[in-house]
Symmetry: C2
Subunit: 356 residues, 2 copies
DNA sequence: GGCCGATTTGTAATCGATTGCAAAAACCGG
DNA sequence: CCGGTTTTTGCAATCGATTACAAATCGGCC
């Protein structure tokens, strides 16, 4: 049955004027072997005579051949891609994470797809679907509100390779890497306490969410341990943005007896808070000490240089990707988890309590 | 010829206990039609009776079917992916660009692959190869040192959809979007001149490269227009990092008659410069005015808030991706180019020249 | 009812690789 | 030189979709 062959490829066409992309058949023809042999020769894996190997490689070089990844992906049922999903692509905190993930990924032959949920649950589900559709072989999740979708996880992705990083930790049985937010926050607050501060305020992240809650817990724990009670007007809930830092700071400092120090759940809000304090005529650190969390690239150059808790972002990215590769390679193993160390970085935004 | 069918799929297997991923054949069987019809019904494009359409959709829903993108990609010879290549993934300037690109891309059904060259020419070539290999259908290039690879562009990628953004403009006949760096720099310097400054220094980006050169040109042009000569010791070349900003600033202020104002080629170096000035006991803007370039997310909250030239990053990302989609969709058209507007944002880091 | 044209559906080729099995070739000791 | 192994190669199926063309069905009109 003769069905149309529009622009039938190769066959009698002179090799030299080949214009379309050469494929494995072209190589086979030129090298005088079968496609199977070509495949084996090029992948270097199969057993193949040195002579044929050379012949095939020569032909491939001559035709300027490159493997068609789409065909390969279909056949081997992989995409050699991973999905990196964050809640907000424009969050500077992710910069080094991206870098770490990308570095390990490319070294292992994977490409990284950017995913951005903007905290929209539907978009999050879309990324799960992409995983299922074969767009990627694995996924790194750095979004907070996943847990609700248990159904998604259980029913449809029982064995999908997923690593959760820095968020939504205690939920499903997924692999994850994070830091000890509670302990780190406690360390931050202890630093302020050690400087003599007793009235300490806190600007938290969104709190039904795990991350914000953990840092708030750490704050309260440290204060409780030190025997200080925290009036509710010394706590405010922001959304990690500079603007919300300003807003929360203002609210806290409108209280009757404002704090002398502030533990802020991330550096961006700390920048906002410091800006607001300056606008209110308060000096940092002389009048108010401020400590942040994350250690962004600018924190060191801010004025005053920001005391903060450093998270090893590049390493977190690397570790996360490494775990994911592990997961994708060796089928589902017992879900691993890994806690990365944080570090208190003391700079110029904190100082001993001034004697009143 | 009976060849092995390991775990032969479907055939007599009860549909309900189907565990493997259903494919188009499973749908066809359940709906009692051919795979061709299924494909047409699901893509909603082909002509298909409403009745069959419903039948097929029902079957698909029942089996929880999802299209296999790998198969589809092979068949239609597309990847529905674009490559976004930058010189340094951890550069905060890219944040909003990423966001803009990703937003348009996903709206159009494309995924975005992250590419990071670290200014390594080999890695850059790898990304070109990825494009050719079919990993992606198009590429956004934001790297500076591409031009040398004319060969790559001509010989092997004559018609590859590529949009160059913000860098390496005047080279090959590729589509590109950028801003008028020379004019913007001139505007920045004029702002300082208008404030009464005459001794103005410049911290430039790497200068054999186009971008650094353009901003340097703009600086010199504005100074020349105003009739001021610039001693070479008032110009320094950095690498856009905070540290190099510090370093260059120190060098410039070691000169005998240091400038009273500084135009810095990007905000990060401006942060460094301001930090260094502070360390040297100079106040910004009282003693020295500083203007940057980019308007990073922190520039507004820096202390002092940084006067700078704003680039519309999100829009640049959007525009770039839009152009790329255009290019990919409609075959090669005449290479477009687009120049986005910049804006002088006056904040607290610049002030009128103090009367000595 | 029969015929013709317009719709709808089915058949099978195709995209470009990988790979299980069998056939061919090479090797080897007797 | 031959039978038996071991290597190397080739054949053809396969991954899961899309689509050109042919076949079947439908509808309307005489």
């Amino acid at each position: 049955m003769e069905v149309g062959h529009p622009a039938k490829k190769g066959e009698g066409r002179p090799v030299a004027t080949m214009v379309a992309r050469p494929n494995i058949k072209d190589i086979a023809r030129l090298a005088g072997v079968s496609t199977a042999t070509v495949s084996r020769a090029l992948s270097d894996s199969g057993v193949v005579t040195e002579a044929t190997r050379a012949k095939v490689h020569d032909a491939a070089r001559k035709l300027n051949y490159r493997l068609n990844v789409r065909a390969r992906n279909l056949r081997i049922q992989k995409s050699m891609a991973v999905l990196l999903v964050v809640r907000n692509m424009a969050n500077p905190f992710y910069l080094d994470i991206f870098k770490g993930v990308e570095g390990i990924a490319r070294a292992a032959g994977y490409v990284v797809l950017m995913g951005n949920t903007e905290d929209d649950a539907n978009r999050e589900i879309e990324y799960f679907d992409m995983l299922r559709d074969g767009h990627a072989d694995g996924m790194i999740l750095m979004t907070g509100n996943l847990p609700q979708e248990h159904q998604v996880l259980d029913d449809r992705f029982g064995s999908a390779p997923i690593v959760v990083a820095l968020e939504a930790i205690e939920n499903c049985g997924l692999a994850h890497v994070d830091v000890d937010n509670r302990a780190a926050s406690r360390t931050a607050v202890r630093h302020l306490l050690d400087l003599g501060h007793t009235r300490i305020g806190h600007i938290a992240g969104p709190v039904p969410e795990v991350l914000g809650q953990l840092r708030l817990d750490g704050f309260r724990m440290a204060m409780a341990e030190a025997g200080h009670s925290v009036p509710s007007c010394h706590e405010a809930v922001g959304d990690y943005s500079i603007q919300s830092g300003r807003r929360c700071c203002r609210r806290i400092f409108e209280s009757e007896t404002p704090p002398t120090a502030l533990f802020v759940a991330n550096d961006e809000m700390a920048f906002g808070a410091i800006g607001e304090l300056r606008d209110m005529g308060l000096r940092v650190p002389q009048d108010v000490s401020v400590i942040g969390f994350d250690d962004l690239f600018v924190s060191d150059s801010f004025s005053p240089p920001l005391t903060t808790i450093r998270q090893p972002c590049i390493e977190i990215g690397r570790k996360t990707m490494t775990m994911l590769i592990d997961l994708m390679g060796s089928g589902r193993r017992s879900p691993q988890m890994c806690q990365m160390p944080t570090e208190l970085v003391v700079r110029g935004s904190t100082a001993p309590l001034a004697q009143a």
